[in-house]
């Protein structure tokens, strides 16, 4: 046995060395880059804002709930993402005092809502965010605050509340004295209690406060507060700590926010969650406290609002960003919560930075992006440039161009066209429903009917034609238990073969509580088609009695024992799969009459029992193939669970990969090639090109490597892959066809030219466009041009050459392709080679220069594409077709081509004439040395040359119109036109041709 094993090992080893197999990773198809659609107009949750003035500019670092870190070097006028290779959930940021280039970033947000993500440690940059290194605290999952000691910048304190969904020792207060190289936990209470907040004395920096908080979430309940919660103080940099109690409420406490007055450090403010929550002030450096009066806005939802900020200069001025923005001008004794004019900031505030060099200037981070005030919070403006929206789901219709739809965390439901002139921008997005948004679906028979929802199944039907919205949530009927609707209630459609009484096609609309409901009339009537499909465990249904802990909090976010996912077989409407949040996987094959729980087979693969079913995918190619993703993070288990059944759900197999991170949200099988799979988790998008045997993380598709991918869809007409990210908006990878080709290809081959999809004449729309003043952040445009995809096994050191041949096998176009390893993508903009243009004179920024770059577009027909790489040629054919719907008939394209070619030819004839002229001048110049007659000829020739070429032009601000310029102007106009000249206009070409003939005869006359 031992020997046999050894031999196998040897064999494998040799096989490895003999033939180095190409192992693909996502860099092999980096040309399949995603377009981002945003939106920025409805941004996402901001968790941290830190700023500093450097080189006279306000530099900002903005941390987000699921979109990484963004930097502005101009006071928020523009932002760049700079954390795209790392965990996208940011808890806290800190800039080293006085050094804009050293920044610490704690991952894992600490606003402990149900949908909060998870971090993987602490990072640091020393070059302004261009490069980051992880420096520890990997298992803390959440970091709420980082303080760098201004007196000793190597001393850093980090507070970690720690894991939300489980007990853990990886929480508490950490300290480094070597700028983050090593860490010590300097204060710890117990496995249930973490450090929520810290505050440092501005001058006696060994004096700090640390608030500890006992908290825990379960899928069905939240608990804030307990005996572990307390406020601590140290005067020796954390060596010894005192528990502070004098004047603070008795009994179990919850989350405590604490802040020290920088102008008067003896004064300290704290908001204390307790049975009676309150705002407290200390005037003796935190030793004793007294309660101040406060509003509900000051004390509400401590788990979600934990920001309290003193003005850096004014000892009386305090800000409390919370549900609304509140400010005090008397040290916290009274509060103003009004906004006067301008934009009212989105509610739910989590971050505030006050510019210490200009305390009028405030940056406020909310659930809906960043707001800027230039008058201490009296009025605000929205920064429309951060596309960090948190989508739960995405869907698409089948219009041209198709629209995308989806719901945003705390930010309504939205729709936008997938492409728009100049790129999809803020103004292309339209809201189609309020509240927190989740699922949005369109009617399968009338795309003007759209269904959206807010939390807890509040579904509405919106008629886009009339603009009217109707609430259509199923009502409790006799025989029903009280309905339990998930926070993120599924709304799903499915095709139907049924017809209405009047013969109109129908489709199925589903929504689910613990019951599945179906409607075939746009939600006017609902039929309950199942019993309670959940475990109906009463112990998990006590939200209204005890959710929230010390502070009651019941907003449907903890509703449990509900249906979370519904999928109807597109080819058999009687076959429906339903997954619940408590681990039931139910199947009906008779349209809901009978149900079978198929989950047991999944637990046999090693997935923990009762794990939340997060998505179900029925293969559109083989209905026996079912995929299921499962999410157990609410029990503290962040593993990636994804299983497949090849026998209709009787037996299951678990997909595993060392690449996987993050709990799984969604899996999608390609609609054409069953080997091509897409998996979205809380920490990444993953591809499989071999049916799930191996997986690779998406790193090179223009998306964050650890993107929070909540939903994935394929738009069937365009084969586009749509990605709903929970922190960076919607992404689209256009046309999966080349990836399908790659799946089939032998990637060990040196090069492969893939079949080229035929192209219908089309150009990217140019108008109408919105005002550039309103567009905010703009996504990339979709490119309309024949696209050549080829694969190279290795990066090519030589230029890859591409040639286009017409039907007569005449070469009409040469251009260079890219030579990157893996898939290459090159557009052929339907043109031929530009003409040879007459040389001479200064031609920068003139139509003369453009003439040597632009060229006429080809007529419809068949073309041969030849790709030459590494000394070998590869060929494919493409048919270019007319497209009357877009304004391109066979005739118009042909006429435009002919007109362009007349001018193309004129340019080349002129170039030849000028060449001959130059040669003649050279010869005559030589002869003129001894011949006076030749001197006169030379003058004549020179005058002639000045009539053809613009030789007096010396600057781009000097237009000179000689014959070459006239030809160039008309040539460029026709070569770039999208419709031919009218017969009358075309006569302009004839004039130039006649003029050329005269020039040519004059020349021959002169040299006779």
């Amino acid at each position: 046995m031992f020997i046999k094993f050894k031999l196998t090992g040897w064999f494998l080893l040799f096989a490895f060395f003999v033939q180095a197999q190409t192992t693909l990773n996502s860099s092999y198809f980096q040309v399949m880059g995603a377009r981002t659609l945003g939106p920025s107009t409805m941004s996402g949750r901001i968790t941290a804002i830190e700023g500093i003035t450097a080189d006279g500019q306000v530099n900002l670092y903005v941390g987000t709930a699921g979109g990484g870190i963004w930097k502005s070097q101009n006071g928020g006028q523009s932002f760049t993402p700079l954390f795209d290779k790392y965990c996208q959930s940011i808890g806290a940021l800190a800039i080293e005092p006085g050094n804009a280039r050293v920044v610490y970033a704690g991952t894992g947000e600490s606003n402990m809502r149900n949908s909060v993500s998870i971090g993987d440690g602490l990072y640091k940059t020393t070059d302004g965010g261009n490069n980051w290194q992880k420096i520890g605290l990997d298992s803390t999952e959440r970091i709420s605050k980082i303080i760098v000691d201004p007196a000793d910048k190597k001393t850093v304190y980090v507070s970690s509340p720690g894991p939300l969904w489980k007990s853990s020792s990886h929480r508490g207060l950490y300290k480094s004295t070597d700028a983050g190289k090593t860490w010590n936990k300097i204060l710890f209470v117990n496995d249930e209690t973490g450090c929520a907040d810290i505050a440092m004395h501005p001058t006696k920096t060994g004096t700090l406060f640390a608030s500890f908080w006992q908290f825990r979430r379960k899928p069905f309940a939240f608990s804030s507060g307990g005996s572990g919660s307390a406020l601590f103080k140290t005067n020796d940099g954390g060596k010894t700590w005192n528990k502070i109690t004098k004047g603070l409420p008795e009994g179990d406490l919850g989350r405590i926010v604490i802040t020290i007055n920088p102008s008067k450090p003896s004064e300290v403010l704290a908001i204390v969650e307790a049975k009676t929550p309150g705002l407290y002030i200390s005037e003796d450096e935190g030793e004793t406290w007294k309660k101040l009066s406060s509003t509900e806005n000051i004390t509400a939802r401590p788990f979600y609002f934990s920001t309290l900020v003193y003005d850096p200069k004014d000892p009386k001025r305090v800000y409390r960003p919370a549900f609304d923005f509140a400010s005090s001008t008397d040290g916290g004794y009274s509060w103003n919560e009004n906004t006067f004019g301008g934009v009212v900031p989105h509610s739910d505030h989590h971050a505030l930075w006050v510019n210490p060099n200009n305390t009028e200037m405030l940056f406020l981070g909310t659930d809906g992006g960043v707001y800027l005030s230039m008058n201490k919070g009296t009025t605000w403006q929205f920064l429309n440039n951060l596309p960090v929206g948190q989508f739960y789901h995405v869907s698409a219709d089948n219009q041209t161009p198709y629209n995308v739809y989806g719901g945003l965390q705390d930010n309504n439901s939205w729709m936008a066209p997938n492409t728009s002139p100049g790129g999809v921008s803020s103004v292309d997005w339209r809201t189609i429903g309020g509240g927190d948004g989740f699922w949005v679906q369109t009617s399968l028979v009338n795309p003007k009917i759209v269904f959206s929802e807010s939390q807890g199944g509040e579904i509405t039907r919106v008629d886009i034609t009339t603009g009217l919205s109707y609430g259509i949530k199923p009502k409790k009927l006799a025989g029903d238990d009280d309905h339990r609707w998930n926070w993120n209630t599924p709304i799903v459609t499915g095709p139907s073969v049924k017809r209405s009484a009047t013969g109109k096609p129908l489709y199925n609309l589903y929504i689910a509580s613990q019951y599945l409901f179906r409607s075939t009339d746009d939600g006017r009537n609902w039929e309950r088609v199942s019993p309670d499909l959940t475990t109906n465990n009463k112990a998990k249904q006590q939200q209204s009695e005890n959710s929230g802990g010390i502070t009651g909090d019941n907003t449907s976010a903890e509703n449990h024992c509900t249906i979370f996912t519904v999928t109807q077989d597109p080819k058999n409407e009687n076959r429906i799969w339903v997954g619940t949040d408590d681990g039931n996987l139910q199947l009906t094959t008779d349209g809901g009459k009978t149900w079978q729980n198929k989950a047991a087979g999944i637990w046999k693969t090693g997935v923990p029992e009762n794990t939340w079913i997060s998505s179900i995918e029925i293969s559109s190619l083989d209905q026996k193939r079912i995929y299921v993703t499962l999410d157990n993070h609410m029990y503290g288990d962040n593993n990636t669970y994804v299983v497949v059944s090849y026998d209709g759900g009787n037996t299951w197999k678990k997909f595993t990969s060392t690449e996987f991170t993050g709990f799984a949200h969604v899996i999608r099988e390609d609609i054409v090639n069953e080997k091509l799979l897409f998996l979205g988790t809380e920490m990444g998008l993953f591809f499989s090109l071999d049916g799930g045997t191996t997986w690779m993380r998406s790193k090179y598709q223009n998306m964050p490597w650890y993107n929070l991918v909540r939903d994935i869809k394929i738009q069937p007409q365009t084969n586009d892959l749509l990605i709903a990210s929970h922190g960076r908006g919607i992404y689209i990878i256009d046309n999966l066809q080349p990836l399908r080709e790659l799946v089939k290809a032998d990637v060990n081959k040196e090069a492969i030219l893939f079949p080229i999809q035929n192209f219908k004449y089309e150009f990217d729309p140019q108008y109408p466009r919105p005002s550039v003043n309103l567009t905010g952040w703009v996504g990339e445009t979709k490119v309309s041009a024949p696209t050549i995809y080829y694969y190279l096994n290795q990066r090519s050191n030589e230029s890859v050459k591409i040639e286009v041949y017409d039907a007569a096998n005449k070469k009409i176009k040469d251009f260079n392709g890219t030579g990157v390893k893996g898939l290459n993508k090159v557009y052929w903009p339907l043109n031929i080679n530009p003409p040879k243009v007459a040389q001479g004179g200064f031609i920068a920024q003139s139509s003369v220069l453009s003439s040597s770059v632009v060229s006429p577009k080809v007529p419809v027909g068949k073309y041969k594409i030849v790709v030459k790489a590494n000394g070998k040629s590869y060929e494919q054919l493409i048919t270019v077709e007319a497209n009357p719907a877009k304004g391109f008939t066979i005739q118009s394209i042909e006429l435009l081509y002919r007109q362009g070619m007349r001018l193309h030819s004129l340019h080349e004839q002129l170039a030849t004439l000028v060449d001959t002229l130059n040669k003649t001048i050279a010869t005559v110049t030589k002869a003129a040395e001894s011949d006076t007659a030749k001197k006169a000829k030379l003058v004549q020739l020179d005058v002639y040359k000045h009539e053809i070429l613009e030789l007096n032009r010396k600057s781009i601000f000097f237009d000179e119109f000689k014959f070459r310029r006239k030809v160039s102007d008309l040539y460029v106009a026709v070569a770039t036109a999208l419709e031919p000249l009218s017969p009358v206009q075309e006569k302009g070409i004839g004039l130039l041709e006649d003029e050329f003939k005269k020039f040519r005869s004059r020349f021959f006359e002169m040299i006779k």
Binding site: G128, R795, N797, G840, G841
Partner: protein, 233 residues
């Protein structure tokens, strides 16, 4: 048999162990990979002839440099002469395509950003003696491969991040920062197609700058160059 097994084990372990690296180890390997310190320290002048390839158009150029004294680039595109001269205390440039029609002095800031390029030997060769400092920034991944990153800061405070290929020890990518009006703009160049020159030093014959590719055709080391070319006429 035993012997073979052992050497194979060594070979395999070389594949699997990721040894902790220091910046100086990485730099030493790199210097060896590009031909060694001995050869590079003898490079006193260099002439590089090549072309800039952009959108299918090739623009020939010549770069000439005398170590620490001056560098000059000449290129021509459709009759437009592009010139770039750098010396330790002055620089000039001309680019009619960018609206600079005559050879004019460059700003002090621009000179500061270019003056390190006078070191035509490698920036990492005797970097300490040159007053530069390095910081190891860990491992990173680019284009599907793994790299060690080192930040080099020169005595002129120019800062660049170098990506060293873990397998070949050669530099794959350099990221730099251009500062304008308080805004830092990141630039990056990928170094491809390493070839050994007649002189015995190894250089990247292609520099991929994203929109354009600088392609080297010919390198001449230590041929006489007239220092008079390093000034405006």
């Amino acid at each position: 048999m035993k012997k073979i097994l052992l050497s194979l084990a060594v070979l395999v372990s070389a594949f699997v162990t990721a040894k902790a690296q220091t910046a100086d180890e990485i730099i030493a390997k790199y210097i060896t990979a590009i031909g060694g310190a001995d050869k590079w320290s003898k490079v006193q002048s260099i002439k590089i002839e090549g072309q800039v390839e952009v959108q299918g158009i090739a623009i020939p150029y010549t770069m000439q440099g005398i170590h620490m004294k001056g560098t000059r680039i000449d290129a021509e595109f459709q009759g437009n002469k592009i010139i770039d001269i750098v010396t330790p205390d002055k620089g000039w440039s001309q680019n009619p395509l960018a609206g600079k029609a005559s050879l004019d002095p460059i700003s002090a800031d621009e000179l500061k950003s270019k003056v390190d390029d006078l070191d035509i030997q490698d920036a990492f060769l005797d970097y300490k003696a040159k007053g530069s400092s390095v910081e190891f920034l860990g491992k990173d991944e680019e284009d599907g491969n793994e790299y060690f990153k080192i930040k080099l800061t020169t005595k002129n405070s120019n800062e660049k991040t170098y990506f060293f290929d873990i397998k070949t020890s050669l530099i794959y990518k350099i990221e730099g920062i251009v500062k304008q009006q308080g805004q830092e703009i990141k630039s990056s160049v990928k170094y491809l197609d390493y070839q050994t020159t007649d002189f015995g030093i190894k250089m990247a014959f292609k520099q991929d700058q994203g929109m354009m590719m600088m392609v080297t055709k010919k390198v001449t080391v230590n041929a006489p160059i007239d220092a008079a070319i390093f000034k405006a006429n």
